[in-house]
Symmetry: C2
Subunit: 185 residues, 2 copies
Amino acid sequence: MGRAENTRQRLQEEAIRLFFERGFDGVTVEEVAAAAGVSHMTFFRHFPTKESVVLDDPYDPILGEAVARQDPDLPALERIRRGVLDAWETVDDPGDAMTRQKIELAASHPSLRARVWENNRRTEEVLIRALTETGTPRFEATIAAGAVMGALTAALFDWAERRDDTLGGMVTSAMELLDAMGASR
Amino acid sequence: MGRAENTRQRLQEEAIRLFFERGFDGVTVEEVAAAAGVSHMTFFRHFPTKESVVLDDPYDPILGEAVARQDPDLPALERIRRGVLDAWETVDDPGDAMTRQKIELAASHPSLRARVWENNRRTEEVLIRALTETGTPRFEATIAAGAVMGALTAALFDWAERRDDTLGGMVTSAMELLDAMGASR
DNA sequence: TACGGGCATGTTAGTCACTAACATTCTTGA
DNA sequence: TCAAGAATGTTAGTGACTAACATGCCCGTA
């Protein structure tokens, strides 16, 4: 691990620790940088915004590939739904303490939640591309991607507040519910 | 219209005009305030953030009531879907120029999009309440609300970029698509 | 009409996220 | 060992937003 990588990791750990202790607004970037033993400029060289030190998860490519892998004859919503479940199994243990803390933090503060949605936008674009490249009309792909990401994110924030299930269990039951919802017509 | 109301409206009109001319980042709050003939403090007394001068639409209660009105025996997703369509008809002409400009602006800039999502959160809570009060389990209501708002917002941003339909037409076909998606199992 | 109280606004002086420009110190390969 | 080049530091900003306090304006009432 190079010097930069090491600094980056220290910044992230100290940031999350401090945000948990005193809240996101209760800690300045200066303080995070000081705790990691660097100046505030170094913080911003590693993370473009204060929020991004909490939210830096690059799931997108895995998700896109998993969706692209589904049977093209299935409806769009179903392909994304199955892709999400497949991708979930691929990822190496997202149930660790650090990830849980990040999700809790993200759910706890407006400006962090807002960034989560902005990240989702990138993910939605990946999903839309995976679908349209296999024949789904663009608008349909857009709606399906929005619906799944909306449901998933709502579930994630709900989970962060209540935590009465594992992360994986929550994702699975969210997708199952979404599946069952359409079944009544 | 009182003095305050008048100031507020001037601020909003000047803000949207300037944001369109020079971009959201190309205009400072100072400049918006100056254009409206007030100081920057007055701006912040009327709008809590720079973003909120663009995003101040209180649809939520109408939507909540429309959803609550639907047949409780229908599945959650379907009740929200129908509620959205009903509420759309209730609202007095949301297809006017100002609204269109606001949506275009909102779609055009990351920090504005982020606020849209944060507003959606309030709307989702209203939807969840309307559903749970008529017997839908909480988690199911959460997923359904997230899915519909996710689909709707994705459609809205897509529309802002392409504008090859009316707003109302887009909302209707988005809801129809969402409806048709579940139909295949 | 004068006045008094409350509401809308102004002034000033901050804090904090974030950026640009330039200087300094490590680190690494030839 | 000695340059690059990478990583970091320093300094001086800009701009969103806040707190505290001062001023001006509009209203009903005496």
